[in-house]
């Protein structure tokens, strides 16, 4: 049994026209017979009509301008905040100058900390020993030390060669080998560089070494050479490096002879360097051909400062041949 309350609850939906056809039929049948519900529906209709008849209010004439003034102020604040953060005009120059200085300082720091190390490791300890030093006196221990331990930069070499115009062959070593023992080499170089005592050259150069070379420094240099030539080092590096001095009558003709020998054997000449009228040849040689090459070199000149590496039987070698005048 449908009561008036049930119908009244459906009157709004009926009014909105969202009832199903069945419900709509039920409501209409009830309304036809019930004056109370008909009156309720009329009241609802009147209510909705009164609401719809409410007039629209008009915005005040200044309304758009007032709203937009606030909006523009907000937009400007936003922009000025961004400008203050990223384009601070008044303090722009000091800040930018400071930032530039910071960048430059950082760049210098990076260059100083990384650059020289790379160059230091380019020369093996065997190659840096060069001590004819007939003009080196006790009064200049630091300069001499530099000559021996720090042939790092070209500018240094030039300055030193001006001061001591004696043979100063430069030596290029493999970067891979260089990076394998950085700490050890640095440790050996530091005391020498501080000028506490000049380091000793390797034994074969002993006859040329200066009288000022102390025993302690000599030991240090020997330790450096040992470490450089130690088996562990050779095992670490893929290509072993050997350095020797070849004392010849005529550097130019000796160089040609060596090239001919290399051409016959298949050993490759990887680099040739000229410095102060001297030549340094870097050759890539299979370990099996090392003895043959040494034999050939002995026919051209006198081999000096060469240390055998008996454990090297296979793999490749990089031989640094410095041609020095007799």
């Amino acid at each position: 049994m449908i009561t008036c309350k049930d119908i009244e609850e459906k009157l709004t939906a009926y009014q909105e026209g969202v009832l199903s056809p069945e419900e709509k039929g039920l409501v209409e049948n009830h309304l036809a017979a019930c004056t109370q519900c008909t009156s309720a529906l009329a009241g609802l209709k009147k209510t909705v009509d009164l609401l719809k008849e409410l007039p629209e209010v008009e915005p005040p004439p200044w309304f758009t301008q007032k709203i937009m003034a606030q909006v523009r102020q907000e937009a400007e604040e936003k922009n000025s905040l961004l400008k203050r953060l990223f384009y601070p005009f008044h303090i722009k120059i000091p800040i930018e100058a400071f930032a530039t200085l910071c960048v430059v300082a950082l760049g210098l720091y990076v260059y100083k900390t990384s650059g020289p190390e790379i160059k230091t490791y380019q020369a093996p300890p065997a190659a840096i020993v060069e001590a004819p030093a007939k003009d080196v006196s006790l009064s200049k221990p630091v300069e001499r030390t530099k000559t021996i331990a720090l042939p790092e930069t070209e500018s240094d070499k030039e300055i030193l060669s001006q001061k001591e115009p004696r043979p100063q062959p430069s030596v290029q070593a493999d970067a891979q080998r260089a990076s394998s023992e950085p700490i050890m080499e640095r440790k050996e170089e530091i005391p020498a560089a501080t000028g506490v005592a000049p380091p000793a050259p390797i034994p074969s150069m002993a006859k040329e070494k200066d009288a000022s070379v102390s025993v302690g420094a000599e030991r240090k240099a020997e330790r450096a050479e040992k470490a450089f030539r130690s088996p562990s080092r050779s095992k670490k590096a893929d290509i072993k490096i050997q350095a020797l001095n070849l004392s010849v009558e005529n550097i130019a003709s000796a160089s040609t002879d060596i090239e001919k020998v290399l051409g016959q054997s298949g050993i490759t000449l990887t680099k040739r360097e000229f410095k102060d009228g001297l030549q340094t040849l870097i050759v890539h040689c299979p370990a099996q051909k090392l003895q043959w090459l040494l034999g050939q070199l002995r026919t051209i000149g006198e081999i000096k400062d060469y240390h055998e590496m008996p454990e090297v039987t296979d793999g490749d070698l990089q031989i640094i041949i410095r041609l020095i005048p007799r």
């Binding site: 609850e9 709004t12 939906a13 909105e16 969202v18 009241g43 609802l44 009147k46 209510t47 909705v48 009164l50 609401l51 719809k52 008849e53 409410l54 007039p55 629209e56 209010v57 008009e58 915005p59 005040p60 309304f63 758009t64 007032k66 709203i67 937009m68 606030q70 909006v71 523009r72 907000e74 937009a75």
Partner: protein
Amino acid sequence: MTGMSKREKDKKDFALDDDDHYVSLCQKGNTNAFQILVERHQKKMLNIAYRITGDYEEACETVQEAFLSAFKAIKKFRGEAAFSTWLTGITLNHARNRLKKIKSISHYEGISIDDPVETETGQVLFDHPSQEESTLEQLEKKELQAKVQECIGTLDDEFREVLVLRDIQEFSYDEIHDILNIPEGTIKSRLFRAREAMKNCLRHVLGVI
């Protein structure tokens, strides 16, 4: 009926010339495009705010706040609903907050003797009209509208919002769903109760309905 036809015309205009273009310009930082949106929607938002708060000055303040909020949040507007729907939601939020403030202030300031009297059950009693003023014909149209507005003011917020959106602003159920984020069934039940409450209130105010 003139008002109704006007509203329908406004709706048609919005449908024909949609706001998406101007909204996208605003999102790129064009404040002039926002001005066009303000000019288009300010009247509708003002009327919604006015029917919710029942005070013209408060409605103006509400709409200014709503437009400013919309401008600040315009980059977050994804276009899932119409801009007008989104803006109406913002306006309703501001109107709701402002109404709370008004109520709390009037609570501390005390009740005026002219204010409607609220009974223990929450029902509002208005001054019963005199015999001379008991018929609809005798009331001035303006007074009648003021009474209707008073009755709207007696409704709970949730009923008032649905009533204003549906019966005065003539939003569809889908639009009301987007604005208030409530299901259609809830909209219908709230509308039924809002109309019933309005009918009862008007009966009290006008004597006959």
